[in-house]
């Protein structure tokens, strides 16, 4: 099934070497709209709400920024560390530029971890895109649910 031009252009930007070395699609052979739709369906099955996840991740990121590279405790439930690199990355959907911040969240009670970046947070929030299967930066909804206690 052919994709709309927006999705086709975004998928082209998601290939390895265009924005990041690995790209955003991993070894997923599904077309981009299918990946997004499958994750949206799984989110409703798991009872995970996109806005709530985004809000919590934003809060964790802001708390982590205070540490300037060191680990910070947030609400006594999580340890957050934000690593910053110079430069910006464009969103594949061409709707924004994002600093190269990598945020590592550790759920203190279970030890479960979640890694995300400013860009992946935007992709989650605005496009409901969690990256293709096989991508090392893909965020699994089950893991999100576990780490963020949703």
């Amino acid at each position: 099934m052919k994709m709309s031009p927006e999705h086709t252009k975004a998928a082209a930007q998601m290939l390895p070497g265009i924005i990041t070395a690995e790209g955003f699609l991993g070894d997923d052979s599904r077309p981009l709209p299918d990946i997004i739709q499958a994750d949206e369906e799984q989110a409703s099955r798991l009872g995970v709400e996109w806005e709530q996840v985004a809000e919590t991740l934003h809060a964790l990121r802001n708390a982590g920024m205070e540490g300037q590279g060191t680990s910070v405790e947030y609400l006594r439930k999580w340890n957050v560390r934000v690593d910053e690199a110079r430069g910006v990355l464009p969103c594949p959907f061409k709707d924004g530029l994002f600093h190269k911040h990598t945020i590592l969240v550790t759920h203190k009670a279970s030890g479960a971890q979640l890694v995300f970046s400013e860009l992946s947070l935007h992709l989650l929030e605005t496009h409901h895109f969690l990256q293709g299967r096989g991508s090392s930066f893909r965020m699994e909804l089950a893991q999100i649910k576990k780490v963020l206690e949703l």
Partner: protein, 197 residues
């Protein structure tokens, strides 16, 4: 033998009284999905006019000068579809070069036109009714315009219905099908008024 119908009559008939959408019920899927938004409905309608006219004329030539000549009229279904797919592809490339803005505005609708059954339907009607060249052009153009007007009307009606208290189970496709049914019933009143064959 081509039927004895004046092009003007045929034009009016294909736009109004034998509207391909509301009288023949062809081209339903994009009719239902794209009529949610007036602007996209307009864009799609205009694209359909262009594709319908061009493909009907090309199919006229291919049918009468190739298929008939080689006695393989039974292959018209396959050949018509091949022509439609190719024409849409060419149109996509040309539009992308000439007007990137229009290309982005039409989005996925342009390739979606290939699977619009109204496009194939119009070519087949042209063949079944043995239209001559002028009638073919007029019929293709008129059907396209009729399709465009119908989707504009539906999109406008749906905009109003948005604000009406529709029961939850009927919202979306449900009420849309009812609206289309009502529009079609209104158009039944026109049937037979003008000859198309």
């Amino acid at each position: 033998m081509a039927p004895d119908i004046s092009p003007i009559i045929l034009l009016l008939a294909s736009i109004f009284t034998s509207n391909i959408l509301l009288a023949n019920f062809l081209g339903m899927c994009s009719f239902i999905t794209i009529s949610k938004d007036l602007k996209s409905a307009n864009g799609l309608g205009l694209a359909v006019i262009l594709v319908m006219t061009v493909t009907t004329v090309i199919n006229y030539a291919v049918y009468n000068y190739i298929l008939v000549f080689f006695h393989i009229e039974y292959l018209r279904f396959i050949v018509f579809i091949i022509v439609i797919a190719a024409v849409v592809q060419m149109l996509e490339m040309i539009i992308e070069r000439l007007s990137p803005a229009l290309y982005m505005a039409l989005g996925i609708f342009l390739p979606l036109i290939t699977v619009n059954c109204a496009i194939l339907g119009v070519s087949l009607f042209m063949q079944i009714r043995s239209y001559n060249f002028v009638q073919t052009v007029v019929y293709g153009l008129g059907s396209g315009v009729g399709w465009w007007l119908a989707i504009l009307a539906l999109a406008a009606i749906r905009q109003k219905v948005e604000k009406a208290p529709v029961p939850a189970g009927l919202k979306g496709p449900g009420i849309t099908l009812i609206i289309i049914g009502l529009m079609a019933m209104a158009f039944i009143g026109f049937s037979g008024m003008l000859n198309v064959q």
